[in-house]
């Protein structure tokens, strides 16, 4: 029942908070219109991905027109006389059917953005499923974990726009769950095996660092294919070849991706992030000049995406992502302190392979993005790069709640949730264009959710529903309150009422 009601409520809430404008935008609508703060294409990541979706559907090409390239600047690369977004194409491709469907209702942009919301709903379902079935945690704890991720973290702000984070989380969680199902050796093991490989291939297509984030799950998958049993007289090794057979799914996806790279960038292994930036070419005025090709090739030689990650950046990156005033997760969503406690408890009391894999996944994500040259994620609401880790950490919130049954602990959790979800709703209804502190100081601007508060007070919202139907009638505060209340009521039900019912039935 919970698996039906919660997703429906989630869909409703996402509808009320999805960023957008009514209409089917054209390329000329981007600049100085939709790219303003609190507008749907306010930042280059969603602008670039939406531009690519538009290009695929309207022009049947992965290359951007000059108008779109200028609109998406600076996250645009140049190769072979064409412009391409720097990002992996997967999100844009997945959004294309929704774009086509939405354009029939004059909602092409809104429909495209709903892709993230779909993934967000699925993520909530998987958090619940993993908590309940993999770790045998109480259902109410799993439900609360889902609620935290969906509406108590900065993931909410990225469930209503076109970024890769919710999709990445989905592929990790769904692949993990499928690998676990495969491990159970049930009737549908083969399907789960195919999905694990497919999720890995699709994850890479939506964001290249996912090739690392999928390693723990693939390791889990591999270990689940091997079994060593000791008997008195012998030791048995067994291996399930299904893992190799099903890898065909991954191979096919990689071949398609490699073909895409080959056709557009000249080599199967050349990623979109490694082509020369439009910014560099523009600054050196190389476009349209006779010497341009050689000079552009030379610029490309110097570009190595791997070099953006380095150990030197790790201490500062980790500080920024965890405790900094502009992006610290524990400032935006302190409810995840409960998740950290859950990790510690899980390691002590449930030292299973599944626990280790999930912890390894969190550490891999934190490690990689702490080493990234831009842990702030550019202008962003909260530590957006940590969203996949938060999805997993939400499972550990369920661990905490199931191991620590004190009422006071649940009160504290609830209080932390009140704060975290208040911050989350502030972000989702206003803007993701929050500068890092270093830039904000120079611009004399705010640099965390206090910047969002200014938008909130001014009723400056990004919500298509609010802007279309409610802007002139009620303040953003009165619009937010019912949504916020629903979320808090759900939290009360999951934290206090359901456990009581469970106890009563148990007695």
């Amino acid at each position: 029942m919970a698996l039906i009601i919660l997703p429906l409520l989630m869909i409703a809430i996402y509808v009320f908070t999805i960023k957008g404008v009514v209409g089917n935008p054209v390329p000329l609508d981007f600049k100085n219109n939709l790219d303003q703060a609190a507008k749907p294409l306010e930042l280059s990541p969603e602008r670039g991905r939406f531009a690519l979706t538009m290009s695929i559907v309207e022009n049947g090409t992965f290359a951007l027109s000059q108008t779109l390239a200028d609109a998406v600047y600076p996250d645009v690369g140049y190769y072979g006389g064409n412009f391409y977004i720097f990002f992996a194409p997967g999100i844009s491709v997945l959004a294309a059917p929704l774009y086509m469907l939405g354009s029939k209702f004059n909602l092409s942009q809104v429909a495209s953005f709903s892709l993230s919301a779909i993934f967000a709903v699925l993520n909530a379902v998987y958090i619940y499923l993993i908590s309940k079935w993999v770790f045998k945690l109480p259902p109410w704890a799993g439900l609360f974990g889902s609620l935290v991720f969906s509406f108590g973290s900065t993931a909410w702000a990225y469930a209503v726009t076109l970024y890769q984070h919710q999709a990445t989380t989905f592929f990790i969680l769904s692949a993990f769950y499928s690998a676990w199902k495969y491990r159970q050796k049930g009737k549908w093991s083969w399907l789960h095996a195919v999905w694990v490989w497919s999720a890995a291939g699709l994850a890479v297509a939506i964001d290249y660092p996912n090739s690392l984030f999928m390693i723990p799950v693939l390791t889990f998958f591999s270990l689940s294919s091997i079994n060593i049993t000791k008997y008195k007289q012998k030791i048995n090794f067994s291996f399930r070849p299904l893992i190799i057979i099903s890898s065909l799914a991954f191979v096919i996806l990689m071949v398609i991706h490699g073909y895409y790279n080959y056709v557009h960038f000249g080599h199967p292994m050349r990623l979109s992030g490694s082509i020369v930036g439009y910014k560099a070419i523009k600054e050196k005025q190389l476009l349209g000049t006779q010497e341009s090709k050689e000079s552009i090739d030379k610029l490309a030689e110097n570009k190595n995406p791997v070099s953006y990650f380095s150990e030197e950046k790790f201490p500062m990156g980790l500080t920024i992502l965890t405790v900094s005033p502009d992006r610290g997760i524990f400032l935006y969503s302190p409810i995840y302190l409960v998740g950290i406690l859950g990790v510690i408890l899980a390691i002590r009391k449930n030292r299973s392979l599944e626990t280790s894999i999930l912890v390894a996944n969190i550490l891999t994500i934190v490690f990689l993005y702490s080493s990234w040259g831009d842990p702030w994620g550019g202008w962003a609401f909260g530590p957006r790069y940590l969203i996949p880790a938060l999805g997993i950490l939400s499972i550990f919130i369920a661990f905490s709640l199931s191991y620590v049954r004190h009422f006071i602990f649940r009160i504290i959790t609830f209080l932390l949730f009140i704060y975290s979800s208040a911050i989350a709703i502030l972000g989702v209804l206003t803007t993701n264009a929050v500068p890092p502190r270093i830039e904000a100081v120079a611009l004399n601007s705010g640099y965390n959710f206090l910047h969002n508060w200014i938008f909130f007070k001014d009723n400056h919202s990004s919500s298509v529903i609010y802007n279309t139907f409610f802007y002139k009638k009620i303040s953003l505060l009165y619009y937010a309150l019912p949504i916020y209340s629903v979320i808090l009521i759900l939290a009360v039900i999951f934290l206090f009422i359901l456990p009581r019912l469970e106890k009563r039935h148990g007695n």
């Binding site: 399930r240 150990e311 080493s371």
Partner: protein
């Protein structure tokens, strides 16, 4: 569908029995020797043995003992402790070994091999487990920072070997406090450590403290008679090095605390940084802690460092381990020492991980983090010992992944970087090339402390250099260079410059007898006119 394979348990247990009978310490010795030689050959072929400015200084100190205008043990000086230079003496005699730096590589290389064997033995002593001990050895001996530094004439490996040796015997003593021979050995190697680097002084202090603590009684007499006796036995041997060094400073240089009070001391140098506002850890405990933590991390390897932290936690929480707090305290001695010295302004580290971009330099002295590699290797080995095979597989994966991070350039070999491009790197001014080409013979007056150029790379024999340590020639040459030296090398504002070129009168006197034969922004070279 499954593919199955059975192996008789007898075969597996035979293999395991064979492995437990293996004398791994010989294998460890052989591997360590191969790694050491390979590292030295690589550094020699790429001409990076004497990358550090300090590396040449250490070579020259040792060389002056045997070949100088005034040879003798007094050339050991009073700032750097003498042991590494004394150990180089049999090799430094040969010019080829001196100029190539191999004289120092031999000492560091031998230290590396001995360290590898004894870190293996130390882990085996605690865990009684060969595979865990071998893993410790692998973590230690394959560390790229250590492999590079053991090919250089720097002093870190000398300290590390005596630290490990002293710790090994001290742990043997802790596990059986009637083992006086181990206590004496610990004291002896502690004595050697106190004459290698100042970290050794802290080591023997901690060991003495531990002896006192383990023999503490809660009665009227604070320490047992046995403890008192062992304490005196230990202190007499271990602290003799400190007493000798203070005595040396007093007798040779006129000040027992010359090493910390003189103008050449690290403390004096740090004052310059403090004046510039670029001594960030000074009187800042948090920054001192962070600087050394990050420096250790970059030397050990980021992935292995996290494993080390887990291993340390695991060790401290394992109530089955005898004297675990004492042993952990002992292994963490370098960490405490460097945090304290950073806090006091006695040492300085710049690392690009946290040094502000506005600083003049962001890479300096990161090699200090090498001292944590033995501790890291030990606790990682302990964690390996305590883990089941799935966790061991993960540890092996992380160990290999660390090399992957070096390979893709994510992690750098920071000790090499510091010697190559950091503030520790030796300068190679054009004047060096000029002098190597044009020097024919004669005494050369230069201020060696300011490291005007490399002596090892030039043609000048050490006995033809007149520097501050050649009394009374130094004073004579500064007073009347024309009577004592053929060449005068000045670097802007060094001691020779201040005495011979800073005023017009001085310049006039110099030009009367010398002709300027080389000019650059920073360095001038003069040759005596009578010799031209």
């Amino acid at each position: 569908m499954e593919i199955k394979l059975s192996i008789p348990a007898k075969i597996v247990s035979k293999i395991l029995k064979w492995m437990t009978r293996l004398d791994l310490s010989r294998l460890v010795f052989a591997f360590a020797l191969i790694i050491s030689i390979s590292g030295i050959v690589y550094s020699f072929q790429h001409d990076i043995i004497v990358s550090y400015g300090d590396a040449e200084s250490h070579l020259n100190i040792a060389k002056r003992v045997v070949h100088s205008l005034t040879p003798g043990m007094a050339q050991l000086g009073g700032i750097w402790l003498p042991m590494p230079h004394i150990l180089m003496l049999p090799f430094i005699y040969f010019d080829q070994l001196w100029r190539s730096g191999l004289a120092g590589s031999i000492v560091s290389g031998i230290s590396f091999v001995v360290s590898s064997v004894f870190i293996f033995k130390l882990t085996e002593l605690i865990t009684k487990n060969k595979s865990a001990s071998f893993f410790t050895f692998l973590v230690f001996a394959t560390n790229p920072n250590l492999i590079y530094m053991q090919s250089t004439p720097m002093t870190e490996l000398t300290l590390i070997v005596f630290f490990i040796l002293s710790s090994y015997y001290f742990v043997r003593y802790l596990l059986n406090t009637d083992d006086n021979l181990s206590l004496i050995m610990a004291a002896f190697f502690g004595f050697c450590a106190t004459l290698s680097r100042y970290d050794g002084w802290f080591l023997v202090g901690v060991e003495a403290l531990i002896i006192a603590l383990i023999h503490l009684k809660k009665k009227i007499i604070p320490i047992s008679v046995k403890g008192e006796g062992q304490m005196f036995l230990y202190i007499t041997v271990a602290f003799f090095g400190i007493v000798s060094w203070l005595g040396w400073g007093w007798i040779i240089l006129g000040d027992p605390l010359y090493f910390t009070r003189s103008q050449f001391s690290a403390k004096s140098q740090q004052q310059g940084w403090l004046a510039h506002g670029q001594l960030p850890a000074y009187h800042n405990l948090l920054l001192s802690f962070l600087y050394y933590l990050i420096t250790s991390m970059s030397n050990v390897g980021i992935l292995l460092f996290f494993v080390f932290m887990v291993g340390l936690f695991k060790y401290l929480s394992d109530s089955g381990q005898v004297r675990r707090y004492s042993i952990a305290f002992l292994m963490m001695v370098p960490f405490i020492f460097y945090v304290v010295t950073l806090f006091m302004g006695q040492s300085i580290i710049f690392t690009p991980h946290i040094t502000p971009i506005s600083f003049d330099w962001r890479l300096f002295n990161v090699r200090y983090g090498l001292m944590m590699i033995p501790a890291a290797a030990f606790f990682i080995g302990f964690l390996f010992f305590k883990s089941g095979w799935p966790a061991r597989a993960l540890l092996i994966f992380l160990f290999l992944a660390q090399f992957g991070l070096y390979y893709i350039g994510y992690s750098k070999v920071v000790t090499f970087e510091d010697g190559w491009v950091g503030l520790s790197s030796a300068r190679r001014p054009d004047a060096e090339r000029w002098l190597a080409k044009n020097y024919d013979n004669g005494l050369v007056l230069m201020d060696d402390y300011s490291r005007t150029f490399s002596v090892v790379r030039g043609k000048i024999p050490m006995q033809n250099i007149v520097y501050i340590g050649n009394k009374p020639y130094w004073e004579w040459a500064l007073a009347a260079p024309q009577n004592h030296v053929k060449w005068v090398v000045l670097q802007s504002n060094d001691t020779v410059w201040k005495n011979l070129f800073s005023t017009e009168e001085q310049q006039g006197r110099l030009y009367k007898y010398f002709k300027k034969v080389y000019t650059s922004d920073e360095i001038l070279i003069f040759e005596r006119i009578a010799d031209q």
